[in-house]
């Protein structure tokens, strides 16, 4: 679990994160959403220690990342896996070498053992026969999978994903979302995802934090978000006319899910006012 207390971060005179409190729960997908410039990337970079916050606490299992010694911070970071927006694979290394890199650096296992582990995680992300390929030779979706494989190869307690679906088609996005969700529950990882993608929000948002101009504007889950009354959040979610029209249908669908997956036809044909629960 990661607890964030009164986190503030500014650049020059501009305060980008204005005192955010949040709790990222273990075994759940914690999503940070918000429009561009809302401060979610800065917030995530503070969480992983790439930016030093000006004020506040970031507690990893009760230990404050801000006040940790360099050694403690290094140890904590070994428990963190991160999937970057552009995957951040090492260009000069093959897929296999990329995934093996953390093992090479932090374990004294034999090459055979490391290779076995690499193949295990590559299998887990459904990536076979790509071991010897270089990042430039694989597709965007495959790069994301390699990024996930590298992030989980050391069995991290915390997984951070920055825009995991950016540049991917909807089908591949769904596969990546499902993969992250499965890994989160399977290994009881505290997963933090920074995203714009409303499909991800609806599919895997166990805990959603909506950021607006550096502040936490709303918090809830993927069921609550559809019925939320927050104007700013609604204007973010239903930015287009198409989405506004789709909202009613989506509400029906979600309502259906809430009602233990009742048949959609049954819901639509019923006298129940499902749009105003």
């Amino acid at each position: 679990m990661i607890e964030v207390k009164n986190l503030k971060k500014g650049f020059g005179d501009k305060l980008v994160i204005k005192g955010v409190d949040a709790t990222m729960q273990a075994g759940k997908c914690n999503l940070i959403i918000g429009s561009s410039g809302s401060g979610k990337t800065v917030f995530m970079k503070c969480l992983v220690g790439l930016f030093e916050p000006d004020e506040g606490e970031i507690l990893y299992s009760g230990q404050d990342l801000v006040t940790m010694t360099d050694e403690q911070r290094k140890e904590t970071r070994k428990q963190i896996g991160m999937l970057f927006q552009g995957s951040a694979l090492f260009d000069s290394l093959t897929v296999e070498q990329n995934v093996m890199f953390p093992l090479d650096m932090f374990t004294k296992d034999s090459y055979q053992d490391k290779l076995k582990r690499v193949n295990e995680v590559l299998d887990r992300v459904n990536l076979k026969d790509a071991n010897k390929k270089f990042p430039a030779e694989i597709s965007g979706g495959m790069k994301k999978r390699v990024g996930i494989a590298r992030a989980i190869v050391l069995n991290p307690k915390y997984l951070f994903c920055d825009e995991p679906n950016s540049g991917l088609d909807p089908q591949t996005s769904l596969v990546i979302d499902q993969l992250i969700k499965e890994l989160t529950t399977e290994y009881n990882i505290t997963t933090v995802i920074n995203t714009h993608d409303m499909n991800s929000v609806m599919e895997i948002g166990d805990n959603i934090i909506y950021m607006y101009q550096g502040e936490k504007e709303w918090e809830g889950n993927n069921k609550e978000i559809i019925f939320n009354k927050n104007e700013k959040l609604n204007s973010f979610i239903f930015a287009s006319e198409f989405l506004k029209d789709a909202k009613d249908m989506r509400m029906l669908e979600v309502k259906g899910k809430i009602d233990n997956d009742r048949n959609m036809d049954e819901l639509l044909n019923s006298d129940e006012d499902v749009l105003n629960p």
Binding site: V48, G49, L50, R73, K74, E75, T76, R77, K78, I80, G81, M82, F84, Q85, G86, A88, L89, F90, D91, F101, P102, D104, M105, F106, F160
Partner: protein, 245 residues
Amino acid sequence: MKLFTETGRYLLMLKGMVSKPENGKMYWKEFMHQCSDIGIGSLGIVVIISFFMGAVSAVQTAYQLVSPIIPKSTIAQIVRDTVILEFAPTLVCIVLAGVVGSKIASELGNMRVSEQIDALEIMGINSKAYLVMPKILAALLVIPMLVVVSAGLGILGGRIAGTASGILSATDYTKGLLQNFTPYNVFFAMAKSYTFAFFISSIPAYYGYNVSGGALEIGRASTKSVVVSCVLILMADYVLSALLL
């Protein structure tokens, strides 16, 4: 003011790269990789430049020594000292500042922009120590070697050009090479090589490591690193000459 800020950040980068390696074996591997990249990667251009540098030096020295009372062997002596004292360390290092420096700056710049450096940091690896230190150490090991090779080839180039164009005989050239040889000149050349090697590797590493933006900024950082390295090499060349000669 900006100069002080940049110098401060540069020194902090150098300080930051001194830490206990997470895995000595991986650092050694990276060091050897850099030695090969800098050494073998630059050998071709060093060989070509050095050979012609010596050849041109021999022909132009002969052109200027018109007095019949000066023995022909003096040409070899001048070529030897010019190559050892100036051409091999300074000229080759200026070329290496372009070849090696731009490579280091663009490699690190690309890693920074594509978040590969952030990925290393998240893994708990000191990216300065893992990426910058092996480059500087490899340059300090390999560039003086290249300078020695360059000096040898320069002298050989002078001999081939001198004899081929009939300026002086091979015997005169050998005789001139052995006249009044001062071993201190080699020490001076080595002192310059180590100083320049440090600039050639650390300055581009600084500019590359701190790139922010995209492809355009990587190009700018690469160009700036080469310009700054060249200026520093020439300034250090003067300072070392004034101090050591």
